[in-house]
């Protein structure tokens, strides 16, 4: 594959080689393939000192170039292009817009370039515009090519190189930055292939390597260094169930400014977690909110510490005070200005971040060793332990240091539980922000949910019996239910309806009771009581699981690309007790079942016992998920494991009349 581009110029061979192609080996079912995409960023102008230490007065000149092969009708929408850009009529604008469509015309390439009248510009607001255009004559097999350049003030962030996304496979992705030599930056990539270094583009292209880098010096108005990366043959990422953070598994590279050279001196900024810790710890809208004298908190701390003489009781009391006493309002970006502690206290409301900063401030004010805990929640890119990509931080909790370790608290939501962070906080690396700062890993294996279901069938006669079902939800199951129910009371009704609907049709529930719904520090228990109706007969057929752990295999697809991640460890226990009347006994009982995956990672057992003396039949089922991450190679075993569990849940037993 050599017919590619460099410096955003497309080799006509790229079009010629691809115009008649109908499928691509990278994904034979793809509806479109990106033949080429390139983003080049060039920083011009200067870095100036001033303001809050320094500011960057650079203009960013970004050129974007894409070539896409349309393979199926469902991808034809790709031919409608919208580009949003900053347009202030002065420093920010779009230019050099070009678009061409290529079609196969009996073996030759028919090329059509869009004219000025084909482009539409709509002013969205004073500084924002939208460029729109649509390729004419697009059909299956067409190749569309477009490019443009955008100029805007450099906002301190480089655009991320989103190598992989969930749309189409890419054959070639090119990313380049040209930066003045007195500006320092670092690149962090989660591309799971080692980058190979090359002298120049030609050498990189000639290599069989799929991830290449080369750099060179540019000499224009200012000395610059240009770094370029090439990634070849990138499949589209695909959302699959049981992935905690898809961005962690998608290829991406991020660049971050780490320093500058001024008057011959190198000044590093935010190039280590220590520096970011210091910055946040001393920041007036972050660390200082916690460490200030906060005399306005005197009254609250006095009242709580007096009422709770021990430190553990005080921690709990401060937590409860903030959790339930302050309204939670929608979150802001961590780097935006937060309300002062006084304002939060006065208004009795705050964002998740503000509520947890208030909790830290109260604890510190009461001489308890507490500090903000910064992290990135699931669904987002994890923090990087080795390098502070600080724009990934999107959440703040609270860490309290005790003799036995840290107590982690999140007082944001009234449904949250003392001493336990919500599962979304367990997305890898996190940092405690205090005078020294320290990192910790928050992993799904650190937390566990234990659910227990017990079913008791008693008072059995020829026509029916009594049934009692008790569902004891674990910490995370309770938290999830409580949040959903608090959000909309209809959710509670729907949940309970759903539980009732899955019962066998001969069970009638007459009473439903929910315990601990409003106590966030206790697990939710739901009790159903009712009757089972039997037709008079000599045999009765009973489901071994009237409430099923799952009715459909969550791993339904035959193949899977991504590793399987569970949000926490799980334990599920299901006990059925059936007290039989005299003259009725179970037919032959199934044999006990034990299945496991990865030795002890996942275990399922099911046992049947009939105690003749007390005429009691027990069926005990237990499912333990002890590991939270499974490699893709284990997928088929895991799928079979769940398949067997569901099969076991569908087992029936027969009760037979042994005497009248």
């Amino acid at each position: 594959m050599s017919a590619f581009a460099y410096g955003q110029k497309i080799d006509p061979k790229l079009i010629k080689d691809n115009i008649a192609k109908k499928t691509y080996s990278i994904d034979s079912e793809a509806t479109a393939v990106v033949l080429y995409e390139g983003v080049e960023t060039d920083l011009v102008q200067e870095l100036k000192p001033g303001g809050y230490g320094y500011y960057l007065d650079y203009n960013e000149r970004q050129s974007v170039h894409k070539v896409i092969k349309i393979l199926k009708k469902s991808a034809i929408e790709e031919a409608n292009i919208h580009v949003f850009y900053r347009d202030d009529g002065n420093n920010s604008y779009i230019y050099k817009v070009k678009a061409t469509i290529y079609n196969d015309s009996s073996g030759t390439v028919a090329e059509r370039t869009l004219g000025k009248a084909d482009f539409y510009v709509k002013e969205i607001s004073k500084n924002q515009s939208e460029l729109s255009f649509s390729f004419p004559g697009v059909k299956e097999g067409s190749i569309i090519e477009y490019s443009y350049e955008i100029v805007k003030p450099f906002q301190y962030y480089f655009p991320s190189w989103e190598v992989q996304d969930d749309t189409y496979p890419k054959l070639f992705s090119y990313y380049s930055v040209a930066v003045p030599v007195d500006l320092l930056y670092s690149a962090v990539s989660n591309i799971p292939t080692r980058v190979a270094e090359f002298k120049d583009y030609e050498e990189a292209m000639a290599s069989p390597m799929d991830f290449c880098h080369f750099s060179k010096k540019l000499f224009d108005s200012k000395n610059k260094s240009q770094s370029s990366w090439i990634r070849k043959n990138i499949p589209a990422s695909k959302e699959e169930p049981y992935v905690n953070s898809l961005p962690n598994l998608s290829e991406l590279m991020q660049l971050q400014i780490t320093g500058y050279i001024a008057q011959g001196k190198t000044i590093f900024i935010r190039n280590s977690w220590e520096k970011v810790n210091k910055l946040l710890h001393e920041h007036p809208y972050f660390g200082k909110l916690v460490t200030n004298s906060n005399s306005g908190l005197d009254e609250i701390t006095d009242s709580i510490t007096k009422a709770n003489p021990t430190v553990p009781a005080q921690i709990k009391a401060f937590y409860s005070y903030v959790r339930s006493g302050y309204q939670l309002i929608p979150d802001k970006d961590i780097w935006s200005k937060h309300n002062s502690i006084n304002k939060i206290v006065t208004e009795k409301k705050g964002t998740a971040m503000e509520k947890n900063l208030l909790l830290c401030a109260l604890l510190v004010h009461a001489d308890i060793d507490a500090a903000p805990l910064i992290l990135s929640t699931t669904g987002h890119l994890s923090l990087h332990a080795a390098f502070p990509l600080y724009d990934r931080i999107n959440y703040v909790a609270c860490a309290v240091k005790t003799d036995s370790g840290y107590i982690l608290l999140d007082a944001s939501d009234k449904s949250n539980r003392y001493g336990v962070l919500p599962a979304y906080c367990y997305n890898g690396y996190a940092r405690i922000v205090n005078d020294t700062g320290c990192g910790m890993q928050l992993l799904p294996t650190d937390i566990e949910n234990k659910n227990l279901v017990s079913v008791r069938i008693s008072g059995m006669s020829d026509t029916g019996s009594k049934v009692e079902i008790v569902e004891k939800h674990g910490i995370y199951s309770s938290l999830s239910l409580r949040k959903k129910w608090a959000d909309d009371s209809a959710n509670k009704k729907n949940f309970l309806d759903g539980e009732l609907r899955q019962l066998p049709e001969n069970i009638t529930i007459t009473n439903v009771k929910v315990d601990n719904e409003n106590d966030p520090d206790a697990n939710i228990t739901i009790s159903f009581t009712g009757t089972i109706r039997f037709e008079p007969a000599d045999k009765w057929f009973i489901q071994t699981a009237v409430i099923k752990n799952m009715t459909k295999n969550p791993f339904s697809t035959t193949n899977r690309k991504l590793p399987i991640e569970f949000p926490y460890k799980s334990q599920y226990q299901y006990y059925t007790t059936m007290v039989l009347p005299p003259g009725i006994a179970p037919d032959s009982l199934p044999k006990p079942v034990e299945i496991s995956l990865n030795d002890t990672g996942m275990i399922y057992t099911k046992t049947y016992n009939y105690h003749e003396g007390i005429r009691t039949l027990t069926i005990n089922t237990r499912y333990n998920l002890n590991e939270t991450e499974y490699p893709t190679a284990d997928y088929s075993y895991l799928r079979d494991f769940y398949q067997e569990m569901i099969r076991q849940d569908n087992e029936m037993i027969t009760l037979t009349r042994t005497a009248k």
Binding site: E29, K73, Q327, R501, E505, R647, N650, M652
Partner: protein, 637 residues
């Protein structure tokens, strides 16, 4: 077709208003009956449309809305739309806390300008957005918005109740128009009658509503969202749009205006004319010509929406579409009409309200513009052929659920004529399923499943024929009700050759979990094929009426083959008859080792009184119970 988004979105906040003089905005003063189901309460509102001339119309809205909780926050936002026909002259606002105490004023610099989310590639729609950054519920926003429009083609409908979840204490609506200006109005879900008064030069039409409680959000069994709310439509018999004058006094007149607006835009490029003749000159029937040209249209054009100025109602030329290969519904219909004309066939463009049939039905006795789509009608001697020119997959003559079975306006040189599009019958909308499954001694199954989706079922499934395999995998692994299964082989055939299109799927599967045994007994769940009818997501009774929007039928046959002989232990046929549908399940054990379960379901379209909804829920539950019931066989000794 350019929808009147200005007005549709304005309905959301089509309010009227409270002036600062309103004495008491404290949330505690709201009548308790207005709090039920409510997330916001319109405390008072006044909307006025002042028609100075057909090209000078002023709209003023003043309203006070109390936001009760976070879910009601949307009612406190301003989204004011403007385009070439309408400008926003001023927006003012004030915020009051729960006690009715003044908090702050809207600052002009906090009003954002944006563009609405639309499917258009390009349009001239813009909007002004504002919301108070405040969330100490409850709080009250008082707004006053003035706008001006330079046409009388359409006026914003009055929605005193902006949406479900919002109650209204009081609201008024006034239309001031010159004496002699012919204005029509139609009220929906309004108990109060309008009052007409006069000044020296003007007529004044006034409405007032009080104490409207909040409504629950409608579900799939109710009419479209805004159709349930009180509203007033106002229409000018004579109007101006840009520099054109027209009449909406009758459907004939309105059709004539739209026809005139779009005539002489049908010149095809010479190359296309040549293609038309090459394709059709040798055809023996016009039906053949229509089918060939429609296929050519589908293969050479695509839907791209461009709505600029009057272009919202006036088509792009046939020349443009021929040159670019794209256009919106008007442009593609006009282009197809031009190609048919070139082939000697007369066709008429037709205005329709596409989407849910009950959303904005055409009112035969009240001409007004409620259209958002254009299709093509080709009257033929034997049968009329309807063409959906934006579809690249429909067979010629098939309209789909997008525009079927409703009144539409056919545009002819003689004016507009209401006509009805074809309805698809219970037998057209048919899903047939066949499963032939072999069960081994380990309760594992393998076999073949065939599904055929016809008519409106095809509408729902057709997308899959063009999807990437990864999406097909997901789809396949969700669609069957087998507890555990793997798809071994899959093929799909999309048959668009007939009047009613059909998709046939063949699926080879291996499966477990549907059969289990204990001792000599075999337990079988016949839940294999897709669910026939779902239980309603909202089972609340208390609705005034409910609608079943489509008629359809299902015939499923599931056959299990066993390697050993069995006798029936617990087998029960079932038959249910309800006004909405009938259901039956027959279970047959044939030759000791073949079990066949035949299920049929026939659903009728219709509107039913609310008190019957419990019966509908009961029916769906009985069907589910029946399907859930295990079939028990005993090994033959």
């Amino acid at each position: 077709m350019k929808p009147l988004i200005t007005y549709v979105f304005a309905m959301l906040i089509s309010l009227a208003a409270a002036s600062a003089d309103e004495p008491h905005l404290a949330a505690g003063a709201i009548a308790p009956e207005l709090l039920k189901n409510a997330h916001a309460v319109i405390r008072s509102s006044h909307e006025e449309i002042r028609i100075v001339s057909p090209h000078e119309v002023y709209i003023k809205r003043k309203y006070a809305v109390t936001i009760l909780d976070q879910k009601g926050a949307g009612f406190g936002k301003i989204r004011e739309f403007f385009d070439n026909f309408r400008e926003i002259e001023s927006i003012q606002g004030q915020l009051f806390d729960k006690n009715g105490e003044f908090v702050k004023k809207l600052k002009k610099r906090d009003i954002r300008e944006s563009i609405p989310m639309t499917y258009n590639l390009i349009d001239d729609d813009h909007c002004k957005l504002f919301e108070f950054d405040y969330n100490d519920y409850p709080y009250t926003c008082v707004y006053e918005i003035e706008s001006k429009q330079n046409m009388s083609f359409a006026f914003p409908p009055w929605y005193p109740q902006p949406d479900h979840g919002c109650s209204v204490d009081s609201a008024t609506f006034t239309i001031v128009y010159p004496k002699g200006f012919a204005l029509r109005h139609r009220e929906f879900h309004m108990d109060s009658k309008p009052e007409l008064s006069h000044t020296d030069d003007n007529a004044v039409l006034s409405y007032r509503v009080d104490r409207i409680p909040a409504k629950k959000i409608p579900d799939e069994f109710e009419s479209a969202q805004y159709e349930n709310l009180p509203r007033v439509l106002v229409v000018a018999d004579s109007f101006e749009l840009q520099d054109m004058r027209g009449s909406m006094a009758s459907w004939k007149d309105f059709g004539a205006f739209i026809y005139r607006l779009n005539e002489r835009r049908d010149t095809l490029p010479a190359t296309i004319k040549k293609v038309v003749h090459q394709m059709t000159d040798s055809c023996k029937t016009s039906k053949q010509k229509i089918a060939l040209l429609y296929k050519y249209l589908q293969g050479s054009t695509r839907y791209v929406s461009i709505q600029l100025g009057i272009g919202g109602w006036q088509t792009l030329t046939a020349d443009f579409v021929g040159e670019k290969g794209y256009g919106d519904c008007k442009a593609l219909s006009n282009y197809m009409q031009a190609m048919l004309k070139e082939a000697g066939i007369t066709a008429y463009t037709v205005l329709a309200h596409a989407g849910l049939k009950t959303e904005q039905p055409m009112l035969n006795d009240f001409p007004c513009n409620r259209f958002n789509h254009m299709i093509l009608c080709v009257p033929e001697q034997a049968d009329t052929i309807w063409l959906e020119c934006t579809s690249q997959t429909n067979p010629a003559g098939y309209l789909s659920s997008f525009t079927d079975n409703r009144y539409v306006l056919m545009l002819t040189p003689q004016g507009g004529f209401p006509v009805k599009t074809p309805a698809y019958t219970i037998d057209d909308n048919l899903l047939t399923g066949n499963a032939d499954l072999y069960v081994n001694d380990n309760d594992e199954m393998n076999g073949a499943i065939g599904l055929k989706y016809s008519g409106l079922y095809w509408d729902m499934e057709r997308g899959i024929a063009d999807e990437a395999k990864s999406k097909t995998d997901d789809y396949l692994n969700r669609k069957l009700r087998l507890a555990n299964y793997s798809v071994v082989k899959y093929s799909i055939n999309n048959d668009v050759s007939g009047r009613i299109p059909a998709i046939s799927e063949s699926i080879s599967v291996t499966a477990t979990g549907n059969v289990s045994h204990s001792g000599k007994h075999l337990f079988i769940s016949s839940q294999v094929l897709p669910q026939i009818v779902a239980q309603p997501s909202n089972i609340d009774s208390g609705r005034k009426s409910f609608h079943i929007h489509r008629e359809k039928s299902v015939i499923d046959t599931v056959t299990f083959h066993f390697s050993k002989p069995y006798v029936a232990e617990s087998i029960k046929d079932n038959h249910l008859d309800f006004p909405f549908a009938s259901y039956s399940r027959k279970i047959l054990l044939k030759n000791d080792s073949t079990l066949q379960v035949i299920t049929t379901y026939r659903q009728k379209e219709g509107s039913y009184p609310g008190e019957k909804f419990n019966d509908y829920v009961k029916m769906t539950r009985l069907i589910q119970n029946d399907e859930n019931a295990k079939i028990v066989l005993a090994r033959k000794e």
